[in-house]
Symmetry: C2
């Protein structure tokens, strides 16, 4: 049989896997210094946990897992005869694959509310699955990378999450702008313009400013039923981008004050990537109720690399009311693409090991293997070509594997307890002893 | 709704997740120093890749994923009317969840044979899913942790994998015995006793020696149709455990020579956990064809913590013939249980952060937040209680979270640029400056 990947899924071969790990481990380290703790939830959730949380469209995109055993046993003849796929699902599938990390997180908090101490800070870096039509850059299985804190309304957390964004992206070497806005500020804007009812439609239109420009947004706003002057006023306010201009009513003042406070917390922090008030930012039709964030790369044309915000009722659906939370997420696949395009991954990632031992005879192979252990014991990754083969073959392997040093051992080296070290990029060769070898590879 | 986990699955709350990460990261580090590179494959595989690889029983234990959309559209009325669950599967499900890491690995090697340079060393630490009946210690979703090298028959790899076992278990602090045997040696034993045909039945019986004892195994051997004296001879040889006693025929000599060579490679290594020839070791009905290994804890009564061996035709089913490989795996769940029972996890894992800043007034909260960034910037995890609350409440949180130090800041400390540090375990309090704080938390 000719093997193939399931549609919309990917293998990560070593180099790719290492680059991805580099990103995740860097993010993870920052999360940990800010006190966020790891959480892992199962890939499979009961469909009752998942269904109805992502809208009608989301329900369709859930991967359902067929019940095991004789799953048709308790199905009704009627539904089978009708061939009604949707109706049959509850009879043959009770589990589905995780669609995001937010709903499982909410489930965990609700289920463990008496074990958890609030504020509860967690991060989660796991796969999610969506039965989307696969296309360039869109996969059916992909990682999400979230940090959230629940159980406190303190705006200190908004401030600290902005620091996390700044830390991560400056450590990765990606220049970004961190944008902040507040849902109440947007609502206040709509109300002030006299179009409170068009609030949602307005946010959807504003979100497109980047893509369709001023005139495009204006047309969209007019389509929602707004008057010309209302649309013009909104657009002018939005484009102005001065936070103090948004103190015109109670709603907008709420947003203004919150953003001000976040800025105040970060007054002495010193962002390497600017934190900017961005009144266009709307984060679509999400469940956010307070501050909202987005991270946009500035040196490269690409969509957002992360986003988040505050929500008020995440766990309500699981019976735990009045838990406010705020969180951010990182778009790992896009970050990977930027890093690749900008050549930001450290070169060392492409070296599987620092050096390859090459033996010229059987006895030397044992000698190489012993020295390899000595070097490995110091935490330095090295390898040994596993047999006595022609040097050309051994060098060929080292080159293809991008191993920087060859350590050649024959009768002579073995007897003098030395090593013939060759740097593959320059061809330079030196005879060294064991201690020198360790120092050099380190 | 009352949320629940899907049957046989687990959440890993922070402390548990950190302990698991501790195990995986330690193993991973050892893999990397030995030149093993990470590989990741998708959770979903085509059922055509998975089916038929794990026996009839295994096929039943595969989790199948319902096709998305109108999955009943192309089903045949006949099969639906019959309610034949097994027959319907190919019509409504084309994907399944990964059952182990070996088959996906073989698929990757076969699919990427022209990109991969042999010997190819990879490790893989990922979840697998099995529709087993859940019971104590048996889950439907669990991690496997494998390292394999394919494309070389060199016994150096067997030797190096034994070192990896030794390194990992001594670093984890678990005392183990590493057992080695060879399939050919077992086959030679059966042949020599004149029961070559009962080879498989013999290995199954021998595998039970631990559980059912000499007499039990003897009875099992007799049941396979052996003569009394054949069974006695086999049992005596097995119990003797002297490797040089297994040179009686060509088959056994093959096994003897291989094990000898592995020992020779490791002559100067210095095992902290003994590597022992164990002729009873059979590794069930597995696909192994050469050396086989198992790791058994010695200080605690528990099954094996890992196992592996050499196989000759892993990728054959995917069209790539004659690729020999050897691999080991770690039983992460059992290792976790041993570590927990023997109290081997570092205490520091239960501290989410080193210190918690507590502010006595609003102005001090900003001051705390600034200092927290200073400390975090040095890589030390700390946290700030997010609001000005009663000290009792703040201390309560620090205690419940098992945070070792409280850093209290009020008007006085702020004005003198100092911190009131309290060690929670002793109650000891000291007034220190910023530099001292950093040193102390480090």
């Amino acid at each position: 049989m000719k093997p193939a990947l399931a549609k919309g899924t990917r293998d990560f071969l070593p180099l790719q896997a290492k680059k991805r790990k580099y990103i995740f481990e860097l993010i993870e380290k920052v999360f940990l210094t800010y006190g966020y703790q790891p959480l892992e939830t199962p890939a499979m959730e009961n469909l009752s946990t998942l269904t109805g949380k992502y809208g009608e469209e989301g329900d369709k995109l859930l991967f359902k897992i067929l019940n095991s055993g004789d799953y048709l046993k308790d199905t009704t003849d009627e539904v089978l005869q009708e061939k009604d796929s949707a109706k049959l699902i509850p009879q043959i599938a009770e589990k589905g694959l995780r669609y995001d990390l937010t709903v499982p997180f909410a489930r965990v908090v609700a289920m463990n509310q008496h074990l958890i101490h609030f504020p509860f800070k967690r991060y989660q870096i796991q796969n999610v699955w969506r039965a989307d039509k696969p296309q360039r850059g869109r996969y059916r299985e992909f990682y999400q990378c979230d940090a959230d804190v629940v159980g406190s309304t303190s705006l200190m957390y908004e401030a600290e999450l902005m620091q996390i964004y700044d830390q991560v992206f400056s450590q990765l070497g990606i220049a970004v702008e961190i944008q902040i806005n507040h849902r109440a500020l947007l609502e206040g804007l709509a109300v002030e313009a006299g179009c409170g009812e068009q609030f949602t439609a307005m946010t959807i239109a504003l979100d497109k400013l980047d893509k369709i420009g001023d005139e495009g947004v204006k047309q969209e706003l007019l389509k929602t039923g707004m008057q010309e002057e209302q649309a013009t006023w909104i657009l002018q306010k939005i484009k102005d981008k001065r936070l103090h201009e948004f103190q015109f009513n109670e709603k907008s003042l709420l947003g203004y004050t919150a953003i001000q406070k976040v800025m105040q917390f970060n007054k002495n922090y010193g962002f390497q990537n600017p934190l900017k008030f961005e009144p266009c930012l709307a984060r679509g039709l999400s469940y956010y109720t307070g501050c909202i964030f987005e991270v946009v790369p500035t040196a490269i044309q690409m969509g957002s690399l992360g986003g988040g915000g505050r929500y008020d009722n995440l766990t309500g659906v699981f019976g735990l009311k009045n838990i406010s939370g705020v969180g951010i997420s990182f778009g790992a696949d896009r970050i990977y693409d930027v890093m690749e395009e900008e050549n930001l991954f450290p070169d060392s990632l492409s070296e599987p090991v620092k050096g390859l031992f090459m033996a010229l005879d059987e006895e030397s192979l044992f000698y190489c293997f012993d020295t390899a252990h000595f070097v490995r014991n110091a935490g330095i990754p090295v390898d040994v070509y596993p047999e006595v083969a022609k040097l050309q073959k051994q060098f060929g392997y080292a080159e293809k594997m991008k191993i920087p040093y060859a350590i050649i051992v024959g009768d002579e080296e073995r007897k003098s307890q030395s090593y013939n070290l060759k740097e593959l990029s320059t061809g330079e060769q030196t005879k060294i002893n064991k201690t020198q070898l360790l120092d050099l590879l380190r």
